[in-house]
Symmetry: D3
Subunit: 144 residues, 6 copies
């Protein structure tokens, strides 16, 4: 009825982005995953990079809006963690360098809960000057 | 001049909260850390639990406002990742069960960058009914 | 591939809450719908009233988190329209009197788009004094 | 002392934008109204289109800041309903296609309440790809 | 056509709250003003204290919703400056001690611009422990 | 243990920006201060202007991220007061003309509280048309 301890999709997505050796844990479960990178001052480019990776790696079916919609909200929620207040980058003079992990799987014991998608982000945020930055993390989860 | 690869305070704080074996990595660096848990529908209780743990474990000096202020903003930023939009729990009918890790250390190569504090949160958020929840993550980092 | 003109779920949900004669349009489509009312200064009670109505009227299956999650986010999005900035009521000294309509149906031409849920809110928001209020509207839509 | 049942300015503005036959209800009251359309990824262009329509149709007197100010806040509040969290479009990679209705009238029974303005928005929001979108609604009301 | 240099309502409201000798500048203009204090962890009590002072001192006519509405939004805007992100106090474990100034006057040269209201706030915000706080300021302005 | 009445950094920063005669009060304390102006529809240019002034006037050491970070958050908090909801200017079709004051000093009696930075903003916000604007104020304070 609840989240299965071995199938914590958010934890696995986050661990994979922090340490790539964890990607095998996702493979063992037979779930889909892709890892990528994006650096930009333009928040729309961050969204686009994650969406494009998800479609190219067939994590979602880009021609079904339902799946695009689920992914979009997961991305936006993950960006809340990274931006912490206003989902803005260049417009408030900051930039990000992020690694992302997208995982699609079945984290609940009950079959009726179906598939969910997790977007994990890890990297740096800061002034558009090398070194003037600290780390940032975000996680978004949605049913798909 | 920039973040030292072996001293990524945010990554270490997050890994520690996801997998306690990582706490030894923080110990090796000679940094201060504490791990704790809090579950509540009241967002102020979540803030209080983290602040109390930080003071009891002497991660911060609770009688110096400067340190309390640095921690408070790190907590609030971490809560943005968990709540993704409105830093509210019970008032929007949801509850959290969180594990937290607080790390204080020197993540930058340059000595002038001094000490920083990271608050990492991992757990579940959802309806106040067992099982009706998904995972959530947050990270806040501040200079101290 | 897109929204079907006769099956605009958001428009139908909103029209039903503004004028009950429109509920028959939803019936004709064979979709599920319920209409209800809630007045409160406590935002959590507004969320609870809508969730309870959805479960009692079997618009969603309350024992499946997936459905609760879809509904919850639709409610929160609708509340953004009503509250316009901070999803808060009594904590900023205001109260609402709302009529709500919850509709579950298949608004897209393509079968793969599956079911969606819409929550429409209409009523008044204002000071906790009769007459010191104006109208407010909100609509949230999610895949389910 | 309160809102007059026959003069619910928000309801009339929203119904007019959902179904143009309702515009006659506004005419009967002797109120001012204009209907328009705007599609854009740039949130400033949405604001500009509504402001321009209001001025051209003499719903507001564009040379009086008081009226511009009242309208601007009504537009911003309506956009909260459409965007549900961050008043951003292209910067978070989404676009809108909206119909809008602006109504200026006297919704309260008491004469001292004077004139109010309502901005109702209805349309779609989604990815900048035809079909990958769902409906969105917003209403803003202000004294003028 | 623009703001009159001698009649900057926001500046006068803020100066009055920072230094009471400035209240005479408001008197000279023949404008209405009141000064008050409120300390609370409950954001609704802050709103209530300002509204009550405005009514008791007849800055606004509390039986006219139009005036209550104008004041309410000015208060909320001023609270944005004080809270800087989430208009929350006790729910995020912080408290305020504020002095407030409410000014009603005619800041524009052109007569058609009519009356406006300004709410200025100055005080401290911080942990609910004496001394663990820093200063905060907010200003809200609205047409009335 | 608390804020020293003669060393209220936020009050001094705000008074200096409202009336330049107050800058001498800051000088007397031996604190650092700079005053500047910026007008823009681009929020990033406002941030950049304040950061540049702080570095050029050696209020902060721009090569130490710790100091840049402290200033950045003080600026963002001050912008919350100016923008009151969304830290956006041109993207929601508005522009600002601001005077700013940056003060660095030691506002607490206890030496352990160290240095703090205050950013005070005062000016106008409104439509990108001369005269269609009202005043706005913001204050951000951070430990440095």
């Amino acid at each position: 009825m609840s989240l299965s301890e071995e199938k914590l999709i958010g934890k696995l997505a986050m661990l994979s982005v922090l340490d790539e050796t964890y990607t095998s844990h996702v493979d063992v479960l037979g779930w889909q995953q892709c890892i990528g990178k994006v650096g930009s001052m333009e928040s729309n480019k961050v969204v686009a990079a994650i969406e494009t990776a998800a479609k190219k790696n067939e994590i979602i079916n880009g021609s079904v809006y339902r799946e695009t919609h689920a992914l979009y909200h997961a991305i936006m929620e993950a960006l809340h963690g990274v931006t912490r207040g206003q989902v803005q980058l260049g417009t408030v003079l900051r930039t990000v360098g992020l690694k992302f992990s997208i995982v699609r799987g079945t984290p609940y014991e009950k079959e009726a809960e179906g598939e969910w998608i997790a977007v994990a982000l890890y990297g740096t945020i800061g002034a558009p000057v090398k070194g003037l930055e600290h780390e940032a993390i975000g996680l978004g989860i949605n049913h798909i």
